[in-house]
Symmetry: C2
Subunit: 553 residues, 2 copies
């Protein structure tokens, strides 16, 4: 799969989705163009999807929040007769590399999570209106919505047929959401997950697989009425008009480096690393809410979030051999703080809330990025507030200590704000500082006492905010040795180690999806029973069942 | 690895461990016989271990609780100079099948957990006294102890060198206990897990890797004094004398079936299933505590637990193609209840407490058994109290409804006792009923209201205690169809599905070890970077580093 995957799109380019807006209710139609696959070799029949379909969906959900803040309820429906969605395209999965499959699943998981985040963070609720077969990834789409309505007829079913049909898991949250979100009894879940043809009607309701079952003749009316009811009950902040998310300014160099307006990604292929430098603001914070709205997608923190998000996705899917991501920043920390404070001061306003909530998602995207992550806190850097959060997302951080010969930038500092204590929770629902100092309230209190202060290397080190500090004499060597060493380790061992060390403490549905469920799915995605020549994924569609080694592990 | 692995042993047969008893303090020496490997092809140098070493260790821990209840503190030490323990034997791992590796790790994990359970359930505390190199699985042994003391000299280190050295994870709880039990800061954990040579002295203490660092010259004295202190502070129930755990009565048939005194395992190789039938008591409960102690290991619930535990381990390691375990029982439910009540009434007594706590471990062993588990509640069965707990451990249960033609056994019933509401928590720290009815207090209250009543199929079904009930007409066909279908699915998909559906709700360190950590380790155990011909596990000891595919997944 050599083709570069582009995560930027806009409604004028959609091939698979369309949205009808009607006041505070939007209807999102999934109508996949079967000839619109991202790669050759498969057709997206029966509303099945590949990464390209999901990139558009992620764009829809994102624009719904920024461009259509008036929307309180989104109804997800199929644009096709008799089928809701057949799930991820099996021929695509059968032909994809392991790394692509894994990253495809991760991105679709993140996108499903944005459905739930839309209600939690902005009061934008997703209803799923299922008519026709809703299977596998199709039902996982429904599960990500917070209310599922099912047509009561002979063809409308919900199903997770992955296990019996494909010898893989419903790995886009399916198993976890069935038990943990919908609270389906575990033995009924076991039955459900082994029934190829799925469950329909009253049984689907009795087993808690859907929230409502409605006769076909009354379905549209019932959906409309339920949407109206939810919209009326919504606590969403009022918003007359959204802002436009314009195309990102972005250019690619020959060597793979990428330049955005505020983010620069420098690729060093020999060292297997990408260095991501974030620029601080070039001006002061918006003076007023009107200013913020007028700046729209050009406002500093929104622009930075969009660019960083795009860079992360690009690196994940298109640059799989760059095992080390190095985060740097350069700019005025006071200006970063001022921009963040301007949002916080207006957090009841829909746009300020959306930008802050978007940062929550982008920071989670960093946490979930399966690369070794390191931050360098250098002279001239601006790790303040939301940007300081990156220091607690990465696996390690190194900070310059004192003056460096010939370097006339301001000495390295870190500045924490109130947002570092809970505004951007990780998937485990703890702040990154809480995760870092698990059960150590004393350490966190000591840090809180320094909120707003400019902390130099010694202060940051004493508080445990960085991993190591080095002075002018040691810095270059220490950083070089670390990076060389890291790049020499087995990437697989890094995946497993980082996935375990990053998420200490409690677990949530979200961490379970990315941890337990994904890890087992990835294991299965390596097993001959699924992906071997006689495995179920390869044989799908041939009429011949997979030939399994029956040894149980 | 065709040889049958036997989980039964006793001190007269130990090759790798010895225990010195001195009043309320025992010292456990790890002194592995390098020629005592379970299989050919490797030597257990430097106190490295294989499954055989761990089977002895599990026996030590078990006997410590039943045969030596006077012990309040166990000091774990090395019997060798200059090395504490080098961890799991790498040549053994390099040569083992995937299924053996996975089951080896699971059993060692369960055994590590018994260290922690000994303190939690019985007040028997494990101290680890480390002198010499303590690496990989060696340090994971230490992490399972609740207090780690390290000699402060040039050779005594703690290390998790798996990632840099072997391209696999410290998968026996290491990564999880470092962050979640010892609360090592995640970035320091990241550093620690990439340092081949490990960490010693003050840094080990500063990073919370150990609890105490003591100069070599004062080490023995300090260990003795700390053990004395913990023993004096122990709240362990007083016990003058233990009971002997005599060898199990057990015979193997030609076809692989196993007969114990109360447990029968019938193997049906063509159907890929083993049917495990548990017999009810052949007499009333012990009339008094003296009776219970006099019966010793012959008392019904202890004997049943030991036999069932052995049968599960045998099936796991020696019968990997039997993908379906069917649980049955036959006997008088009132007698089962009477036996359990006799223990409950005396739960302050050390032996009653030990038997109840052992059932907690055996039931967890069922939960963690990676086979499709089903229970058949037939006429004449005795699923009461602790045995009813099995119904909530399995993936599905089927219950006979009403009279069956020509069957003059009592109709099938289920009886719940107080123990079903929390005495035997799962690894997620919820009762099995709480896990089954996650957040549905109404359902659990309705069940609690029926405590002690004899519930027939309709009553059990109405309360959601069984998956399906079938009458005489449907029973045989339904059971047959289910079993045939289950046996036809990919075993790998079953592993992943069951591992996800069984553990809804909150997670604990224990579930994270068996879920997230193990799943990632199993994934890595499939990857060429670890197990391929040029992978790190295969090349270990050759002086040539693993040749890695550097694509990051």
């Amino acid at each position: 799969m050599p083709k570069m995957i582009d995560f930027q799109t806009d409604p004028s380019r959609y091939r698979h989705w369309r949205v009808e807006y009607a006041g505070d209710i939007a209807t999102l139609y999934m109508d996949v163009d079967e000839n619109g696959g991202l790669f050759e070799g498969y057709q997206l029949k029966l509303n099945s999807y590949d990464l390209g379909v999901d990139i558009e969906l992620a764009d829809v959900v994102q624009r719904m929040r920024f461009e259509h803040p008036e929307v309180k309820v989104v109804i997800l429906r199929s644009g096709k007769d008799n089928v809701f969605c057949a799930g991820a395209n099996i021929r695509m999965l059968g032909g994809a590399t392991h790394a692509h499959k894994v990253n495809f699943c991760k991105f679709t998981n993140e996108t499903r999570n944005t459905f739930e985040a839309a209600e939690l963070d902005s009061g934008q609720k997703y209803i799923c209106a299922v008519r026709g077969a809703c299977a596998g990834g199709g039902y996982e789409l429904a599960l990500a919505c917070n209310y599922i309505m099912l047509t009561d007829d002979s063809v409308s079913t919900v199903a997770l047929p992955e296990v019996p049909l494909l010898a893989v898991l419903p790995g886009t949250g399916g198993l976890t959401r069935v038990t943990d979100k919908r609270k389906v009894r575990r033995d009924l879940a076991d039955v459900f997950c082994t029934i190829e043809e799925g469950v329909k009607g009253k049984r689907a309701l009795d087993w808690r697989l859907v929230d409502e079952v409605v006769a076909n003749s009354k379905f549209d009316e019932a959906v409309a009425s339920r949407a109206r009811e939810f919209a009326d009950a919504s606590k969403k902040a009022p918003a007359a008009k959204g802002i436009e998310l314009k195309p990102l300014a972005r250019s690619f160099a020959e060597d793979g480096s990428v330049t955005y307006s505020l983010v620069e990604v420098v690729v060093d292929r020999a060292a297997r690393k990408a260095t991501i430098t974030l620029a601080g603001p070039d001006g002061g914070a918006p003076a007023s809410l009107d200013d913020l709205v007028a700046q729209g997608c050009e406002s500093y923190l929104l622009r930075l979030a969009r660019e960083l998000d795009d860079a992360l996705l690009h690196l994940r899917l298109n640059e799989m051999e760059l095992g080390l991501l190095v985060f740097r920043s350069q700019g005025d920390p006071a200006l970063v703080t001022a921009h963040e404070q301007a949002l916080l001061a207006n957090r009841e306003h829909w746009l300020a809330n959306e930008i802050l909530s978007y940062w929550k998602r982008v920071l989670k995207r960093i946490d979930m990025t399966s690369r070794s992550l390191v931050a360098l806190v250098e002279n001239g850097s601006c790790f303040a507030g939301v940007l300081a959060e990156i220091l607690f997302s990465v696996d390690r951080s190194y900070m310059m200590q004192g003056e460096f010969d010939g370097d006339n930038r301001p000495v390295a500092t870190i500045t924490l704000g109130g947002t570092n204590f809970g505004r951007y929770p990780m998937s485990n629902d703890l702040s990154r500082l809480e995760t870092r100092f698990l059960d150590d309230a004393v350490a966190i209190d000591a840090i809180r006492a320094k909120m707003g202060e400019t902390l130099d290397a010694d202060a940051a080190n004493a508080l445990g905010l960085v991993t190591f500090v080095f002075d002018d004499i040691d810095w270059d060597d220490e950083i070089r040795i670390f990076m060389e060493e890291r790049a020499s380790f087995s990437p697989d061992a890094m995946v497993g180690m980082e996935a375990n060390l990053r998420f200490a403490g409690p677990e949530t549905m979200e961490t379970r999806i990315f941890g337990r469920l994904t890890a087992w799915q990835n294991w299965i995605f390596q097993r001959p029973n699924a992906v071997g020549e006689t495995g179920a994924l390869k044989r799908y569609g041939t009429g011949v069942r997979g030939d399994y080694n029956m040894q149980r592990v």
